[in-house]
Symmetry: C2
Subunit: 152 residues, 2 copies
């Protein structure tokens, strides 16, 4: 009887453990999906501005401005929520993120600041200034990716 | 010689066509990625509010407010940009979207309006009002999904 009880207790314990790990895995994947989605929205706005800055497509001040507005809105989302401790998973995140959390946050803050400036500059319609500020914004993306992303 | 020229012309034509279709496919997939990413950010904010409203997790006014703030920011993104004409692709979008474009836009506008109201109500900390306004916001999601999404 005691053995039977122990077996049930052990089985329940394993079930609880399995459920808890399952939840943790779900939650980690949810966070990864969130952060990758936020980055995908950035890409949507950044790519046309990059193509215009490099002259791959004609410069269009109104289109550029609308992309800068979109990027400024997207960078209001707090992407750091999508990086719970150690959540590398199947993603491109480097473990260095959690050893340098303050630096990681400040690099995201820099992107937010540069994106707001880009939105302001884009409202003026000054092509040279827009391209220059786009360069600084792209550098903010790159500065973080270089240190914290394993590009696959 | 004429035959040879015709063959070259035909081949060039096919190459141009292939390249153009390739670009269109890239661009369509980019739009699908964008819209699906925007929806994933909505889910990130909506799920915890839903769980609190249904009593699956304890109500936490500050956490609810931060989710409502996040959703209001995310719904500033113009998801309709991610639905170029006929871009069903491998997605869950129904072709009815483009036959009812104004209705589709007004349904998204409703979500944006409800999300702003939710943010305002969440700032008051009134649990009952927050749960009620969350219900209206979730209805705005559901109203669009029911008509325009093939849930897979």
């Amino acid at each position: 009887m005691k053995k039977h009880f122990t077996q049930i207790t052990l089985l329940s314990g394993l079930l609880v453990l399995a459920t808890t790990s399952g939840r943790a895995a779900d939650s980690t994947q949810g966070a990864i999906d969130f952060r990758e989605s936020v980055m995908t929205t950035f890409k949507w706005y950044v790519q046309p501005m990059g193509a215009m800055t490099k002259g791959k497509i004609p410069f269009d001040a109104a289109w550029f401005k609308s992309r800068a507005d979109g990027l400024a809105s997207a960078t209001r989302l707090d992407v750091s929520e999508g990086f719970p401790q150690g959540s590398v998973g199947e993603s491109e995140a480097k473990p260095e993120i959690w050893d340098n959390w303050d630096d990681f946050l400040s690099k995201y803050q820099r992107l937010q600041d540069e994106a707001i400036k880009l939105q302001q500059v884009a409202a003026t319609g000054d092509e040279a200034a827009m391209k220059e500020q786009f360069g600084k914004t792209a550098q903010a993306c790159g500065g973080c990716h270089k240190k914290f992303r394993n590009k696959k």
